[in-house]
Symmetry: C2
Subunit: 186 residues, 2 copies
């Protein structure tokens, strides 16, 4: 066990081993940048996806867009919100690099991170359910696959999903790093 880490002990503690916590904070910052690129890319990739088939009847042009299905709209909104949160959390992450013994703000980031991870998971999961149906269809409910017609649309939304699940993994690693930095004070 380490020495006492109360108000009086903090300075000594931070002087004796600041390097490790600083390293964790720098890694956290880099992961946040990577997650911003990922979630922003997902939102843009899904939001700009559309495909118009090269034939049409007199009244209907066959066209698929992300906002035909509300779950894809939710996916885009969830990714946009998470991107916004990540950008706003960058200053706190820099603050942790400078002050490697900060405690309260790290607890805050763990909570917000868990909430944002749940939001990202909900968006990715709802979109994944629809992508599965689009690829496979379902015979019992008579919902037919649409990927035969809209194959480039389907490829694009599938790729966007993979990026979103990578974002969820990044969030898990970030929460773990924050927890490691928190528990090192004890």
């Amino acid at each position: 066990m380490k020495a006492a880490v109360g108000e009086s002990g903090e300075l000594k503690s931070s002087k004796s081993k600041p390097g490790m916590n600083r390293g964790l904070s720098i890694l956290d910052f880099i992961l946040r940048l990577a997650a911003i690129v990922g979630t922003l890319g997902n939102a843009i990739a899904m939001g700009t996806t559309n495909q118009t088939l090269p034939f049409s009847t007199q009244f209907i042009r066959f066209r698929a867009e992300y906002n035909d299905l509300p779950m894809f709209t939710f996916f885009v909104v969830a990714n946009a919100i998470v991107t916004g949160y990540l950008v706003l959390s960058l200053p706190l992450s820099i603050f942790h690099i400078v002050r490697s013994r900060a405690h309260g703000t790290r607890v805050l980031l763990v909570f917000l991170g868990a909430g944002m991870m749940a939001l990202l998971t909900a968006g990715a999961s709802a979109a994944a359910a629809i992508v599965y149906l689009a690829h496979k269809g379902n015979s019992r409910t008579n919902w037919l696959s649409i990927c035969q017609q809209f194959n480039s649309f389907c490829e694009r939304i599938s790729g966007s999903l993979i990026g979103s699940f990578a974002g969820i993994v990044l969030f898990m690693v970030m929460i773990f790093l924050l927890g490691a930095a928190l528990s090192r004070r004890h």
Copy 2:
């Protein structure tokens, strides 16, 4: 600020204000029991849902079951796993009531709780996407609503979803209580 809370100060600190942390731990225990009832109920409600229509052709009986759609199977499995986790975490929760200054095990429960909340969210979200389609259908992809035929099936799965989202809220409160107990040591 409180007195130093290092190894030497712990005993004094736990003697001077054990009541609040103990109260939080008891509340955490009660919430866990409520969440077990909720998630187990969801898994059973979704798992036993089926409806056979009162007419049939020569070859086909019209019947809807939860495992017609893989997302509902995932929902049942996710709820079952979370129920198992909650049962296994009960001893730790009791341990926190007895030893109200435990730290490492609370950090562990925050991480596992965040992961389980993500799993529950993924299951509920995928099932919600399908329930939405079952109720409303989607004209662009030509997926028709099935709730006109299978209305009692639809009511049952919708109710099960509400229970699952209540479970997610319970998890958020539990993580918050653990965090409050953790931050009180500083």
